[in-house]
């Protein structure tokens, strides 16, 4: 699908400007207009990123004043340390779980609240509220709800008539799922909004045609609407997956990486190492995370973009 954005020009025109349309377009926005934005981008994005590379190969710590080049020292000591690989694995599992839950919940909500009724609008706002809440606040609230003598167990106890004291955040196997659910709960409102917008772009003609053909709701969804939602899915899955690789706040507030280190995301490890004063090692770890996100981002986005081919 290509679009004609500029008005057609006469190929036989005598004006000099019309002969070289590209040079004229360049004059529309002089290069120096870019400088303010580029300066901001440089100071707040490029340079910190460069420093992330640079400090990873030094011995920067809180114990010394000088920063010396240390070569691959940090990398080798990190590779010897089993925690790094274990935490990378935890981070990946967490990110995949969040991506699944957040998109599943977001899509279900979008389908339920699709019609523009007053109640639905109010419900959309309600589900969007967690998105704007502080992640730490969400974490602490859930920690209070999920503790053995917390609200959830009290509710379950009242329903079953028995004393319930399940430690929801106490299992070394399942707590990561619980924390991923909390993360997904916080962000599902955003996914919902994007899916709603995606659903609105589907042409009513196609829907009408499918209705006339006698397609069921499920058939319409699987064969028409879901494939046509591809751009929304690309955005939602990519942001949820890659965003939660950088997760920290919710997990820190609910479990702090426990129990038994089973929810220790790489960022929590980075935070701990930084807190010990080993700044260079912490930087090396965040570089590892950066590399992992980058390596993962390309195939994931490529695959998701491929699905968008149905639109063209």
């Amino acid at each position: 699908m290509t679009a004609q954005l500029s008005p057609p020009r006469s190929r036989t025109g005598t004006h000099t400007g019309d002969r070289r349309p590209t040079s004229r377009r360049r004059q529309d926005h002089p290069a120096w207009f870019l400088f303010p934005a580029l300066a901001v981008l440089t100071v707040f994005f490029f340079i910190p990123t460069l420093f992330n590379f640079f400090y990873a190969f030094t011995d920067w710590s809180s114990f010394k004043t000088q920063i010396n080049f240390a070569g691959l020292d940090n990398v080798t000591s990190l590779l010897q340390n089993g925690s790094l690989l274990a935490d990378l694995r935890t981070t990946l599992i967490y990110a995949v779980l969040v991506a699944i839950f957040q998109n599943l919940f977001g899509l279900i909500l979008a389908l339920i609240l699709e019609a523009d009724t007053r109640i639905n609008r109010a419900a959309r706002v309600a589900f969007f509220v967690p998105v704007v809440m502080s992640a730490l606040a969400v974490g602490y609230v859930f920690r209070a709800i999920l503790k053995p003598d917390g609200t959830l167990n009290a509710i379950l106890g009242a329903l079953t008539g028995q004393h319930v004291d399940i430690a929801w955040l106490g299992s070394t196997t399942w707590t990561i799922v619980v924390v991923a659910l909390i993360h997904a709960w916080k962000w599902m409102g955003l996914s919902m909004l994007i899916y709603l917008a995606g659903l609105k772009t589907i042409s009513p003609d196609i829907m009408e045609a499918s209705r006339i053909d006698g397609a069921t709701w499920w058939k319409t969804f699987t064969s028409i609407r879901f494939p046509l939602l591809a751009p929304a899915i690309t955005f939602n899955v990519a942001t949820a997956l890659l965003g939660s690789m950088n997760g920290f706040d919710i997990v820190q507030a609910t479990t702090g990486g426990g129990p038994g280190g089973s929810t220790e995301l790489l960022n929590i490890f980075v935070f701990r190492t930084f807190g010990q004063g080993l700044f260079a090692q912490a930087t090396t770890m965040s570089l590892t995370l950066f590399l992992m996100v980058t390596i993962l981002a390309f195939p994931v986005i490529k695959f998701l973009r491929k699905r968008e081919d149905v639109l063209s």
Binding site: L34, F46, D59, W60, S62, F63, N81, P259, G260
Partner: protein, 438 residues
């Protein structure tokens, strides 16, 4: 377009180069000798001092500040640094942000992590040092022979807080005299159907390490941490490994609370006070928690303290952040002198008011401990002179032993993995400091 891009790239590279040039995190500062000590009441009108404090120490200096402001005309602000306090302060200092004074653990490892020789004022020659009771001044607050921290209250001691009523019901009339008697009593109490020990693996399991450290007291006296500091002995070697194994063995034996994996610090205090458990191995801040839940009389009736070590009743001292302050080199000589004067006032004219307002044990000759201080705290303070330093006090670095032990409680690490992980972290910290042997 090509030329424009070249220009922007060049500009970006230049900006980057310029910024790199001026981003050294902390400018080096020439070390200086002992500074002069001004008189306590020197007028300081127009001088404003800033003290960094943690959430649990930001009220501590109030009476001192009130008195100091009145006496000198200076203004003193307390800024609370959110928890985790040590990490917050370290990060700020590393990026060049410094207060005049800050609460800080007066141990060698924590002074090192603040880069004391570069960032802190030397407190050598401080007039109050000679007035400390029982040689407290020599026990802590120094790094490589230079004093950097002013100890203001009795350092915390790792030891056993016990419920007197539970002991009486079990027929135990005197507190155990060594580790074996300690375990005999515990098994006796278990036989009576009461949980002997209470610890917590939920939340941040920071008290787990006390169990290992009190078992190391005799070894520490014999120079364990000196050997660890020089890499002649490792956490994975017999001494420390055995202590970890023993702790694990006691858990497996069922001497601990059944909800060990999920219990929290708050639960621990409640359980001991209610007599649901007989003993906890803890430090002074635990007693602070009990004080928040009860009054002095009840505490005197119910809760006692005794130090424990394998061979006897040697305590293990661990000064914490609320026990001491450090003064920073800010580059402003007036404020630096005022900061020293503030500490001088705290440990001088202001000290009697301070121990009264805080209801804490006096560590200065000539200043009486107020009668409102509970017996258990007095017992803990009395154990300090014969105590030996903890890992935090004597080792060059403070690895996350407690977290690894917490993992052991949850079953994600074996006792061997606990010491391996701790040794690994200790070695990288020691190496970063440039300690010999790493």
């Amino acid at each position: 377009m090509k030329h424009a891009w070249k220009g922007t790239v060049a500009a970006a590279v230049m900006t980057a180069a310029l910024l790199t040039g001026c981003s050294s995190p902390a400018a080096p500062d020439a070390a200086s000798g002992p500074a002069a000590w001004p008189s306590q009441s020197t007028k300081l009108d127009g001088v404003t001092l800033t003290i960094w404090a943690a959430q649990n120490s930001n009220k501590t200096p109030q009476s001192v500040i009130d008195g100091f402001q009145k006496a000198t005309g200076a203004k003193v602000n307390v800024v609370t640094i959110p928890d985790p306090y040590e990490q917050g302060v370290q990060t700020k200092v590393a990026t060049g942000d410094k207060p005049d004074l800050a609460f800080w653990q007066p141990t060698a490892s924590e002074l090192t992590s603040l880069n004391a020789t570069q960032t802190l004022q030397s407190l050598d020659g401080a007039p109050w040092v000679s007035k400390y009771t029982a040689g407290l001044g020599d026990m802590t607050g120094q790094l490589n022979g230079t004093r950097y921290a002013a100890l203001v209250s009795s350092p915390a001691v790792e030891g056993v807080y016990y419920n007197k009523e539970v002991f009486a019901k079990a027929g135990i009339t005197s507190t155990p005299k060594n580790w074996d008697e300690f375990l005999t009593d515990a098994r006796l109490i278990k036989g009576k159907g009461v949980t002997p020990f209470y610890d917590f693996g939920g939340g941040t399991p920071w008290a787990t390490q006390w169990w290992v450290q009190v078992q190391l007291a005799d070894a520490a006296k014999a120079g364990l941490w000196d050997r660890v500091n020089t890499n002649q002995e490792k956490f994975t070697d017999t001494t420390i490994q055995t202590a970890v194994d023993n702790y694990n063995g006691l858990i497996k034996e069922g001497l601990f609370n059944s909800n060990l994996k999920t219990a929290t610090f708050e639960d621990q205090g409640k359980a001991l006070l209610a007599g649901d458990a007989a003993m906890t191995v803890q430090v002074n801040s635990f007693f602070g928690q009990l004080q928040a839940m009860s009054d002095t009389k009840t505490l005197n009736d119910k809760i006692g303290f005794f130090p424990i070590s394998p061979k006897g009743n040697m305590g293990t001292f661990i000064p914490d952040q609320s026990n001491a302050l450090v003064a920073f080199k800010t580059g402003d000589t007036n404020r630096e002198a005022a900061a020293r004067q503030f500490l001088e006032y705290w440990m001088g004219d202001g000290y009697a008011d301070f121990v009264k307002a805080q209801s804490t044990v006096s560590i200065q000759q000539g200043v009486e401990t107020p009668s409102t201080v509970p017996d258990a705290l007095k017992a803990a303070a009395a154990a300090v002179p014969t105590s030996v330093g903890s890992m935090q006090a004597l080792a060059v670095a403070n690895p996350d032993l407690y977290l690894n032990l917490g993992d052991m409680i949850q079953g994600t690490k074996t006792p061997q993995q606990v010491t391996e992980a701790t040794q690994q972290q200790f070695a990288s910290l020691a190496k970063a400091q440039g300690a010999k042997g790493f």
